[in-house]
Symmetry: C2
Subunit: 494 residues, 2 copies
């Protein structure tokens, strides 16, 4: 789609504006005409599909199967699990009628009042209720367990303030819902899926995350424990990128899902649920991108290499087509996702800027002189470094370089994260420094009172009790002065 | 999920009951608790995913890209294209509110009357309106064309009488929407996508179809031409399995999508749309299956080969695990989708019946005697033929056999289709024979009057004007006695 490329706002000038512009200019998504909803454009969708395929593969490796459950949930289901409805289900789209009819003037449609539903239906904000109502029919004996289902679908939460990918009324996600015979097995599954998310984020998205457990206040409505991966954005804010919930027997009891155990005794089934969403697109953008646009890790990039010819006249183009067409084929045969762009309706400079904006990891350019010299110009998107190389052997070089870029992007993000985790034991200091962003590792007395005060005074929240932190002597709560029960990560967040 | 396997109703006794039972017993889908909606169970979903991946690959080969457009459509969009709303959009789910609140007694939720939407929103029954409203922003110049988008999503049509896969209120589908600079290009794209569907059906689903053009009455609301693939079910009824629409400039005009052409003149964009849905699951079942259950073409089957050990005691099991585990690995390395089922909580007889029900193309069984003799028992699902073969070289044999089964299943369905296409020029004869089912190739005068009379008197409809039929002397309309304009396929249908 032809458009004028104009420079992005710089991150240092206005990070938020930079993000909003980038999402639109890189053709990832745009506002839909329905309030708070988005249109995911083909390039954004290709990235989401890449995320989806790899996650789906990793889920299936752990024995998970996909299924599909209905979009609409009877209103009464929501009140079955008391905490769930209390914490969750109020802001949602309600279907009340099932028919339109032509209006009196014959030029429009109105809702047919005769087609009112007996019970209103809700567009799923999440599907625990409808799925556990179904599991009741599937689960009778310990032999039926575990049930390990996932669905890829759309969900809807009527958000008042929305931002593309980060918070939209409708979004795409996956939600896994498992049922188990024992508490231990369910808890292990909840933790396992968090590890799947964290490994995926690190290995595929090149995005390091902190793993941990949410405080009671920040738990999913209806969960006994919520595990989370928290990523650090370039502006120092946290972005919760995936959660996995140990739901205990809450949904088993609410929907009466019982099974006969090995000793022939009836038991309620144990539950987990876990999900990531198109929010990951926001995390991806704000972890790696720069003032020139997106920076995509090669493993995830829909286009890993773009090849652009620079030519005058048809003879030069023919020669370049031959040479570069062969190079494209060679890269493709090596499993590289490559695009050869010899379109004649855009100038090379426009193409350069556009593929930079779109974060294509490697750009190869060949002009008449290169053709003569047997060279090609290579630019890597992560460092913007250019070099001229012999065209001989370039495919093998690129193949290796893609892995190097993947490693480099991850290392850069990892260094940034490590440099922005601060131990802090003093509340005055915390209040000052938290404005600059970062993850603050602070002693906490475990009370909601302290949690709420921190939030009210600094807009920062307890992101999690992180894994792998020595909790033997957590120290003194920096707010209350009482002995701390643990040290937690506190940060401002998206 | 443990359950009692019981025999299916026989097709000859009650085809409709056989179908309903098979869908549930083979773990494909079940009724949801929301009226008219379905739960697609893991095995059914695996089949749908298989269909989806292959179709998606074929779409992308033609240059199509995926995108995602909102679930909800403002009510007013529907009345923009007059024919579209007239023919289509009345029976749909209407969202009127965006919030629930706790009821007065505190034990349930009610719709918050304060949260009424200014304009009602419709759950998409199809997305032409919302997509063309978006294309207006994407299309300005001939350089922006063509736009070739597809989305995989859920849609909703409030159906009164529903059947699993064949007609459900919510279903999964893909809808492609393309925009073009010329009429010729749009028409060619509509026909191209029909060919993609027909080739996919034949090559992947082993399902022969008749390609053709719909009569005006049967056209999609808003289309100038609807191309269709019609499959013949075992009971002689037609099942429309995919459609592709040439929409002319109707949506371009309704949503004011104009572009500047090469001569710098403004033009309305030309449109197509095309879709297939989870209805294909119904077509798949009713094309191939038998009284023992599903019969799946190998290319599509989520499990192509199941291996079952028969053993007494752990020593035998250990030996079989070693031997058959190696065979599984060998098959997997050849790219065969194989399952080794040594679960000890089900008897072999149960497993045999269950995998037959689920249509797994090849079953390999090994017991103690086979182990001694170096043999394995092979059963092919399409013919139910069993033979004992040397285990040496069995993997290579199976690999070839899978292709043979694919070919055989297609050939069988193709013969059945060919044997049930009848030329018929006499209405009395037609009325009698149409009760037995089949595709009737009959002369038609092109009038809606005849079409309606046939439907009223026989419940049969004009399925299409088929491709590849000589239309030079179509003869005399069998109902009106007037000269026919063409010969059409008439059949009862799902």
């Amino acid at each position: 789609m032809a458009k004028e490329l104009s420079f992005l706002t710089k991150r240092a000038d206005d990070y938020s504006k930079w993000y909003n512009e980038l999402v639109v200019k890189a053709d990832l998504a745009e506002q839909a005409d329905v309030r708070g909803c988005m249109v995911i454009k083909p390039y954004g969708m290709a990235i989401w599909e890449s995320i989806q395929h790899e996650l789906d593969r990793r889920f299936k490796e752990t024995g998970v199967q996909n299924a599909y459950f209905p979009l609409l949930i009877p209103k009464s289901f929501l009140s079955r699990e008391a905490e769930h409805v209390e914490g969750f289900a109020k802001e949602c789209a309600v279907v009340t009628h099932y028919r339109l009819k032509t209006n009196e003037t014959g030029d429009g449609v109105v809702v047919d009042p005769a087609a009112k539903l007996e019970e209103e239906l809700i567009i799923r904000p999440t599907s625990e209720t409808t799925i556990w109502n179904t599991y009741k029919k599937w689960i009778h004996s310990w032999r039926d367990l575990p049930v390990l289902c996932n669905q890829w679908c759309n969900v809807m939460r009527w958000e008042m303030r929305t931002r593309l990918f980060l918070r939209t009324s409708e979004f795409l996600w996956q939600e896994g819902h498992t049922a188990h015979a024992t508490r231990e097995e369910a808890e292990a599954r909840a933790r396992q899926m968090l590890d799947v998310y964290a490994d995926f984020a690190a290995e595929y998205m090149a995005m390091p995350v902190v793993r941990g457990v949410k405080s009671e206040t920040e738990r999913f409505a209806g969960a006994l424990d919520t595990y989370t991966i928290e990523a650090l954005m370039q502006d120092g804010k946290a972005l919760q990128s995936g959660t996995s919930h140990f739901l205990g027997q809450n949904f088993g009891k609410a929907f009466d899902v019982t099974f006969v155990d090995r000793d022939n005794k009836p038991q309620y089934a144990w539950a987990t649920s876990w999900g990531v969403s198109t929010r990951l697109m926001g995390a991806l953008i704000m972890t790696h991108s720069d003032d020139n646009g997106l920076v995509l890790p090669p493993r995830l990039a829909p286009i890993q290499v773009v090849i652009i010819p620079i030519y005058k006249g048809d003879t030069e183009l023919d020669e370049l087509n031959e040479k570069l067409g062969a190079l494209r084929d060679e890269l493709q045969a090596m499993g590289v996702r490559v695009k050869y762009d010899n379109a004649d309706n855009k100038r090379p400079g426009f193409k350069f800027a556009d593929y930079e904006l779109k974060g294509v990891p490697v750009r190869l350019v060949m002009g008449a002189r290169d053709l003569e010299n047997g060279t090609v110009e290579l630019m890597r998107r992560d460092t913007l470094a250019k070099e001229t190389l012999p065209v001989e052997g370039i495919a093998a070089h690129v193949k290796i370089l893609l892995e190097k870029i993947q490693t480099n992007i991850y290392a850069k993000a990892k260094t940034f994260l490590n440099e922005h985790i601060f131990e802090c034991n003093d509340y005055a200091e915390f209040k000052e420094r938290v404005k600059e962003g970062g993850f603050f590792l602070c002693p906490w007395d475990g009370t909601t009172e302290v949690e709420e005060r921190i939030k009210a005074e600094t807009q920062a929240t307890i992101r999690c009790v992180p894994y792998g932190v020595d909790q033997t002597n957590p120290g003194i709560d920096m707010v209350s002065g009482r002995p701390a029960t643990c040290r937690v990560i506190i940060a401002r967040s998206y």
